[in-house]
């Protein structure tokens, strides 16, 4: 049913530490790898070796640059997958009941046997967390590796989402955000975890942790005054100036 459960026993989700993530995309690859062989239609690629390769991914890493009023810009790598929202707009718009949120653990899933591929749920999601697989014509999204986390055939250590298991830096943590004593809830409480686009009222379960703000003490570099190329510079500096201006 595409009505949302009024309450979920658990709120399984991810906590992503933007201070730690180095933007290596290992989680993207691990996600794609696992979801090519397990749950539902495999994540397809279109023209993977052509000049415009494209494909379905459930987790993507963006990189943002933030420029404070004073001080140097800083770069933040920003992994994003389904946030398993409590008030998930993608679920209620679905005409077929294919999209649903589980009352036991809060995971938002697509029943691929019922999906008509109308794409409305992807329109309703603010975060770009749903992608229509171009080969299968079916909506794909992060399942929180529902086929790993409860899978007793896997060694205990592997019973967590593939992205979390693979992250070399430990920037991703998986757990129950409804349980205040869980490690993820504690880190959210300690570090002030935040929602993405809170103004849309989706109440995401996944939380993000703030990156440290860069230190800044005056000039970035003792050599920086020498790098100050004048607009009407001539010679090599002028040439460099023009060249850089064109880039």
């Amino acid at each position: 049913m595409t009505s949302l459960p009024t309450h979920t026993e658990k709120k399984l989700g991810l906590v992503i530490d933007l201070d730690i993530c180095v933007g290596c995309h290992a989680c993207v690859t691990a996600c794609k790898g696992w979801n090519d062989q397990g749950y539902g239609a495999p994540l397809s690629d279109q023209k993977p070796y052509g000049d415009e390769p494209e494909g379905t991914f459930l987790n993507r890493v963006h990189s943002f640059e933030i420029t404070p009023e004073n001080g140097p810009a800083q770069i933040v790598h920003f992994p994003k997958s389904c946030l398993h929202c409590d008030d998930a707009p993608c679920v209620t718009v679905c005409p077929t009941g294919a999209s649903y949120k589980r009352s036991e653990d809060g995971i938002v899933l697509v029943n691929e046997d019922a999906c008509i591929g109308c794409g409305l749920c992807a329109w309703a999601c603010p975060y770009g967390a749903r992608e229509m697989d171009q080969a299968a014509g079916i909506m794909k999204k992060c399942t929180l590796c529902v086929d790993r986390i409860y899978n007793e055939n896997l060694p205990e250590a592997d019973r967590e989402p593939a992205c979390v298991r693979t992250c070399p830096t430990g920037a991703r943590a998986f757990g129950d955000l409804a349980d205040p004593t869980s490690a993820v809830s504690k880190s959210v409480a300690d570090r002030g975890g935040f929602d993405l686009m809170p103004e849309l009222g989706t109440k995401p379960v996944n939380q993000y942790l703030f990156p440290r703000i860069k230190d800044f003490e005056g000039d970035l570099d003792v050599l920086s005054p020498l790098l100050d190329i004048q607009p009407e510079a001539t010679g090599i500096s002028g040439w460099l100036d023009k060249l850089l201006g064109k880039l």
Binding site: T2, R60, I75
Partner: protein, 291 residues
């Protein structure tokens, strides 16, 4: 948002078709026999043709029947129900009018209500989306309904009368554009709220997640042709509203006049719907550094 031709065809044609069915049900005109046959054929062809076009938009249409299951929450599911109910009720009404020369007003009024509710449900599929601020306003259903009423009035040959709904459509188009232009900034979503990083400073995309495109970018970040938007708005107003109104006012009433005015109006309606999609920006664009 990507202006997919199938969806533009669907919303414009079925809007006109259901509008005409609504007017026939209300008894604005009460044709019988062959004339009734041609009216109902036109109405059903537009309504059903539009619905069929919309299934072209589906990735996996073999599950289409399941779309009737979630009417309690989903406007798309409600639309499916309302459309089918309208067609069934108005089908019966049409049989009465064509073969028996009888207009069962109970059926007709029910069918008319259902017709307009169908158009309303279609519009709510778009208007409900908070993620597309330009659509997420009450003017959206009003605009869809007024297009539908304009088409219906024109086709039922209420020549002088049709100018009124056309004028309303023109005003609503302008209002929808003007207030739509402000909706994104009014929604409060920015790249800073999207990333939550505004506390540090100004945020910009440094590197996208991949070098190529993806489904989300193609479907929701449609920037091609936006630079022509202003010119297209003028063309839309001229074709959808001004020219048909002038023709209806000035030319002698005849089937030909109506047909000419209606065809111009339809082309204008297609342009309006194209703009409705092409100008609409989805908040997901914030993550890709473009809208």
């Amino acid at each position: 948002m990507n202006p997919a031709p199938s969806v533009i065809l669907f919303t414009v044609l079925s809007g006109a078709g259901f509008g005409l069915l609504g007017f026939l049900g209300l008894g604005v005109i009460s044709p019988t026999g062959l004339i009734a046959f041609s009216y109902f054929t036109l109405a059903f062809a537009m309504a059903v043709g539009g619905l069929l076009a919309s299934t072209l938009h589906l990735g996996n249409p073999r599950n289409a029947l399941k779309a009737f299951s979630q009417w309690q929450t989903s406007w798309l599911s409600r639309e499916a129900w309302l459309a089918v109910l309208t067609l069934a009720v108005m089908g019966l009404y049409a049989i009465g009018a064509i073969f028996f020369g009888k207009h069962l007003s109970v059926l007709g009024i029910l069918g008319a209500d259902l017709s307009f509710l169908t158009v309303f449900a279609t519009s709510m599929i778009y208007a409900q989306l908070k993620t597309v601020p330009r659509w997420n306003q009450w003017l959206t259903p009003l605009l869809f309904l007024s297009f539908s009423l304009s088409a219906a009035t024109m086709l039922t040959a209420q020549n002088g009368l049709a100018v009124a709904p056309l004028a309303v459509t023109g005003v609503l188009l302008i209002l929808h554009w003007l207030s739509g232009d402000k909706r994104f900034s009014a929604s409060g979503s920015t790249i800073e709220t999207a990333t939550g990083l505004g506390g540090i400073g100004k945020v910009r995309l440094l590197a996208p997640p991949h070098t190529g495109s993806n489904y989300l970018m193609k479907e929701m970040i449609y920037v091609v042709g936006r630079k022509h938007a202003l010119r297209l708005r003028w063309i839309t107003l001229a074709l959808a509203v001004v020219l048909p109104a002038l023709i209806l006012l000035l030319a002698p009433a005849s089937v030909l006049t109506t047909a000419l005015a209606f065809i111009l109006h339809l082309i204008g309606a297609f342009a309006a719907r194209w703009l409705f999609f092409a100008e609409a920006e989805h908040v997901v664009g914030l993550y890709y550094g473009k809208r």
